[in-house]
Symmetry: C2
Subunit: 259 residues, 2 copies
Amino acid sequence: MRPDRLALTPDIANDLPANQGLDIFVRKLLSHSALAPDDQQALRLLPFTPRRLDAGDYILREGERSEVCPLLLSGLAYRHKFAADGGRQIVALKMPGDALDLQSLFLRVADHNLQALTVADIAIVPIKALEQLVRARGTIARALLVDILIEASIGREWLLNIGRRNALSRLAHFLCELVYRLHVTTVEPPERVDVPITQEQLADLLGLTPVHINRTLRSLEDAGGIIRQGRKLVIGDVNVLRGIASYSDIYLHRGQQTG
Amino acid sequence: MRPDRLALTPDIANDLPANQGLDIFVRKLLSHSALAPDDQQALRLLPFTPRRLDAGDYILREGERSEVCPLLLSGLAYRHKFAADGGRQIVALKMPGDALDLQSLFLRVADHNLQALTVADIAIVPIKALEQLVRARGTIARALLVDILIEASIGREWLLNIGRRNALSRLAHFLCELVYRLHVTTVEPPERVDVPITQEQLADLLGLTPVHINRTLRSLEDAGGIIRQGRKLVIGDVNVLRGIASYSDIYLHRGQQTG
DNA sequence: CGTGCGGTTGATGTAAATCAACCCATGTGG
DNA sequence: CCACATGGGTTGATTTACATCAACCGCACG
């Protein structure tokens, strides 16, 4: 029995990545925005409630209204929508350090579902505290806006990916994005990133069917882009993937600063 | 020979919709945000340079950096990206009243191309003036942010549309969205909206081929959803389209106000 | 009066979906 | 500790939606 709705009741005694607290969130923002040390510190000092989610736990449901602002500290989460025939499309994948729901601050109801993909740790930040910080510090407001804009840019790239690339390069493109985005907050070697995503989820992510994902994964493995052992899926050679997808990461807007 | 880059040089003597000036922009914002009369007035008094664009004129190119903020007063414009194999995907369609490029204020380079789809009138607002207004009036800042968030929401719906719906309902869904979005700023009867988009553009919009669009249009016509006379394409019966697409417009976030 | 763009049509090809088993690892309860 | 249920994953046969190729048409326009 787990909460259908996030509340601010604290989970006492979580020896989670809550140790490093919101540091990963700050690192994520730094990947695209410059923040003065005191801005960083202010962010790190935000009050929050840590919470551990199981894979599949809902964080927010379409049509609902959210009262809190969850940040993803570890694990993966995703946004998805359903078509009338039951078909599902994953419309965004969130990684450690990502803010999960900045939009509910400004829109009345959610237009999509938000769900944990793996076991995940989130930090639930009270809206008040965040609003206060944003009002007080323009640089932080700007960094959060840039975050929103970059998520939109990623969405556009996904449209191109799903609308115009075949299964093989589509999959390769997604895996490249995964590596590049994870690289921001993770110190892992660029290779040996493992992909804790089922084939069905990959299908819903890329607008394909699980069976076709299965066969396409085999092709990618034959090409040397990935390695599979049992159910584990690991990035083999990013360069191979980059080649297949003609991948370029400009749409991730790393190290911005309009200035 | 037309400008490859927008500048602030005024086009004198344009008896454009520049008469009503930025009113349509205000109306668009009012469709999702409440604005006090003085906020509205402040927006209407923004300085701007009107400019008429021909169909196909570029407003911004991928990789470029924009110095101005264009608003669409009449006509249609769209964002698009190219895949490595030359395939093109239209990732957003902008309608009268829409701000065309709020993101360049905060991101260094454009991640997509922005082009006029039809003859179009735009108002080029100096960034300074807009920034000043945003700083002075929180409600306006909020309204613009909501605008950005809604565009992102539309993008997610497009992902669902392209990823999970077949050609017929995909096309119907798009046409529904067109009608609903135009209804905001246009007083036209909900029916008899005409769609000044070529079949090739529809194909790039929906991730299909022109020939398949052609055949799918015929099906839609047979179903009574649209009417075609020569090259004209007109909405016939929105309810038919709604049925085919199982259309719901919640993702457009009309009449928000978190409150 | 040609020229070209957008649209239309038919024949054919193919990437991906669908259907239907079956496999295997893991976990669970008797 | 075995029996069984379950959730991925794998595989092959078949179908289908959409792409591709290649004409041709007709209006608009310079």
